[in-house]
Symmetry: C2
Subunit: 506 residues, 2 copies
């Protein structure tokens, strides 16, 4: 059978994209190896190699060949005939291409150089608690973002253009009321918890937990919840992450703190939440940009769901606590499952975002969101950041860092201009609660299943409703298809209030 | 300062080659990961990715851009002005390019497909002891080699063209007398050993040696001899190998047999011999095809030197035996260093090449060399191989396999047409002995140094005389610069006779 011109065109386009995606896969592998396995003296050559391969990927993305495919496939009469995967692939390629093409090459190059330098300066500034040295770089980075936004264009709010990179379709107009509600309710809850006479005893979590035993227990839990070790690995790295090379090879990393049980255990469950998503994307999407999460927020909803809503739930520990005691009999001697459940859910306002508990975490995000918006709307200047940071910490969390290193300098994200990324963390928490509310109605005996260690029905539900689609659906469409609603902060507020009022006996 | 046209041309060429070599590096990393770390379900995607990246590398190698650079740089008047690295790079690129360009694309494609299929058929045939099913594929593979030799051209002997791929400049005319001498002397030595009344007691090597303790001891030895773990790693794989991504990242693998001490220990030293070579190539050669061993034979000379001439020497164990006893007190109870030295040098004719001792190993190579030559000279037919194999085993080693799986089917190399590769193993042994003879004269107290565990002078000598040059010198030039001679089998014969006559009290 002869192929029609459209079939030939589609096949040629899909082959081209597959080739282009091969570079993304290769880069993911080179990065994973760099962060988990590469010897010290191999780092320079590897960084250079990653640079070259990124350049090759960029050449394919910006080639006339791809532009020609995209133009032809988007012509009226053709576009309507495309299958869903090809159509989504065209859209994703067009979007990524536009992000680069709208910026003059020399400006982009200048920014890349600045971002690299700025990252190095930030690292030193944080170590030396020296915001002043970082300030001029951050100012330049913000200026570039403002310049880029002009190239990219915007409608209501400049910040929307940045948000859209990480959370397609999300806007300040949507986020502001959601985050205001979440912030106000959370501040009240945190205050109530602070005033509560009951405090969980957490001392047993800080005993000595040997690394090898922690790793074995983490693997045990991950196997049980359904992270597929035949399609993945668990390794160590300085900063934990999840990376997907293909649905059959999605790897996670962790780090072990021998003097605290929580970090690796819940870190592993968190990364496995990301990984279970990627492992369960429809394999037909492999080789296209659709073989990915719907957005950063949806991705985070999966990691937070498993880490907090499942992994820090009472039924979860009704199942796993006996095993924990078996493995750590001395450390957990005399501890009840309820005490353990309370301890892993301790709420304490603290300075560092990545160490924050489930309740206060969102307040850390609010501070960053408000500052980012101010920088982009030009109502806040970089020089004011330390002061504003500390004011907001005081207002929302009631604690103030004594150094900028523990304050405004703590995160890497701003140094390379990743504005718009932080909000997806709290969006993830909101999505997770909103989705879980539906799931609990649709899966009968949801809590009993968890208490019996039966996670397959939950995974299957997530697969059917979320995972399989990869990036075929936009985050808002995905959420609407599941919940019938737009993003809604009520579910997260309700989840946090009911869980923590019970724990803190409010 | 403005660059001259030649400087510009040279810089553009070197940049192009560096980009091309980036694919070799990336492929090496993808392969290492596949063989040491990749989960089962990731294998298909990885194999496909390796295919795509190989294709990208091939496109760069065969592009008009490279051909134009090569032509311009080889013009009279230009060529003479090139620096040594650029000149060598041109030569290597030209050679590799010629290998592909002389073969019609459709024929090469057909061969690649055949080779892949043939490899799979070989694997099944070996498992099922079924030479007949492999025979038609091997016949096709040989036909293709003969066809390719016509495209590539040859002078005296068709087999020279294949030898040149692995051992540049080596010919049948040179090899035949070298190998005849080595074979005759080795057969005599093996016969004398077989008739000797004294047999080393090797039973203690076959006790239980826990894997973790073996690994720790191997790492201890590797550190001591100077494999740089800050520029490498030791991992596990089904088949041990060494792979270099850059001089700062040269990794080795091993496998552990908990019921025998030798396999991992000497395997590690062997791979470290390869790795120490690659770690010590002049970093200026990185990013060119010259950042590699001079040839397969020279590379093997380094692994064999460390494994056998150092690692299986009496001074070596005078240094390390106490440590071995400390780590394996029960297994080595009552064993003397001399008994240990004798045991790790046991000579026994056996069926499987990769398990052969230092003396009989070369006889396994002779059989393969003679058969390969016969196939290419068309004096042997594929159908005769099982018979000829067994005849030669009987004649040289005095043992005959009871199945083809343990005989002619044991090695993978022929299934994809890698004829000309096997001889480099014995060449490596010859080079090693010839080079060591000079080294011992130039390094005063050579054996005492080893007995004290001081390996730096040996490494430094190898660095100065061999390692630093990478592929800048041809194997014959390298050997001549060190020894003042062409390849000479006398040194290996003399080394084997003196070592083994002493051990076996002949």
């Amino acid at each position: 059978m002869n192929k029609t011109p459209l079939e030939k065109r589609t096949a040629a386009f899909r082959d081209y994209v597959k080739r282009m995606m091969s570079y993304s896969q290769a880069l993911a592998i080179l990065n994973w190896d760099l962060r988990t396995k590469a010897p010290r003296k191999g780092v320079d050559a590897r960084s250079e190699l990653i640079g070259v391969m990124s350049g090759e990927h960029f050449r394919l993305l910006t080639s006339p060949e791809l532009a020609e495919h995209l133009a032809a496939l988007q012509e009226a009469g053709t576009w309507e005939q495309l299958d869903a995967i090809t159509r989504g692939t065209v859209q994703e390629c067009q979007k990524e291409l536009a992000r680069f093409q709208k910026i003059p090459a020399d400006r982009y190059q200048k920014f890349v150089t600045l971002a690299a330098k700025s990252g190095a300066v930030w690292e030193e500034a944080r170590a030396a608690n020296d915001f002043a040295s970082f300030r001029p770089y951050l100012e330049e980075v913000v200026k570039f973002q403002l310049e880029f936004i002009e190239y990219w264009g915007y409608q209501d709010n400049k910040y929307d253009t940045l948000l859209d990179i990480y959370e397609p379709g999300m806007t300040v107009a949507q986020l502001d009321p959601l985050f205001r509600q979440l912030r106000e309710k959370t501040v009240s809850l945190v205050n109530a918890i602070a005033a509560a006479p009951y405090k969980p005893d957490t001392r047993f979590l800080g005993k000595h937990y040997p690394e090898a035993a922690q790793e074995a227990f983490s693997r045990f839990v991950l196997e049980k919840i359904g992270y597929d070790f035949q399609a993945g690995r668990l390794d160590r790295s300085v900063h934990p992450f999840c990376t997907s090379f293909a649905p059959g090879d999605v790897r996670i990393t962790t780090r072990f703190n021998p003097d605290h049980l929580n970090e690796a255990l819940f870190g592993c469950i968190h990364e496995a939440g990301h990984a279970i998503y990627e492992q369960n994307i429809n394999p037909e999407l492999f080789g296209t940009p659709l073989c990915d999460g719907a957005s950063m927020g949806i991705h985070e909803s999966q990691s937070r769901f498993w880490e907090n809503m499942v992994g820090r739930s009472l039924p979860f520990w009704q199942h796993f606590f006996a095993e924990a005691v078996r493995r750590f009999p001395d450390q957990l001697a005399g501890v009840s499952v309820k005490q353990f459940y309370h301890a892993v859910n301790e709420v304490t306002p603290s300075l560092i975002r990545i160490e924050a508990d489930e309740v206060t975490y969102n307040l850390h995000i609010m501070i960053r969101y408000e500052i980012e918006k101010g920088l982009i709307e030009q109502t806040i200047e970089v020089g004011e950041l330390p002061t504003i940071w500390n004011q907001k910490m005081k207002e929302y969390l009631g604690v103030v860092p004594s150094t900028d290193s523990e304050g405004v300098l703590q995160d890497v994200h701003w140094s390379d201009g990743s504005f718009g990324y932080f909000p997806t963390y709290s969006l993830g928490n909101m999505y997770a609660a909103q989705i879980a509310a539906v799931m609990k109605k649709q899966i009968s005996g949801y809590e009993q299943l968890i208490a019996r260690g039966e996670f397959a029905p939950i995974r299957e539900w997530l697969h059917q409703n979320i995972h399989q689609y990869g990036k075929l659906k936009s985050p808002s469409q995905l959420l609407h298809d599941i919940t019938g609603e737009a993003p809604n902060a009520d579910y997260l507020v309700e989840y946090l209030e009911s869980k923590y009022k019970a724990i803190y006996q409010l």
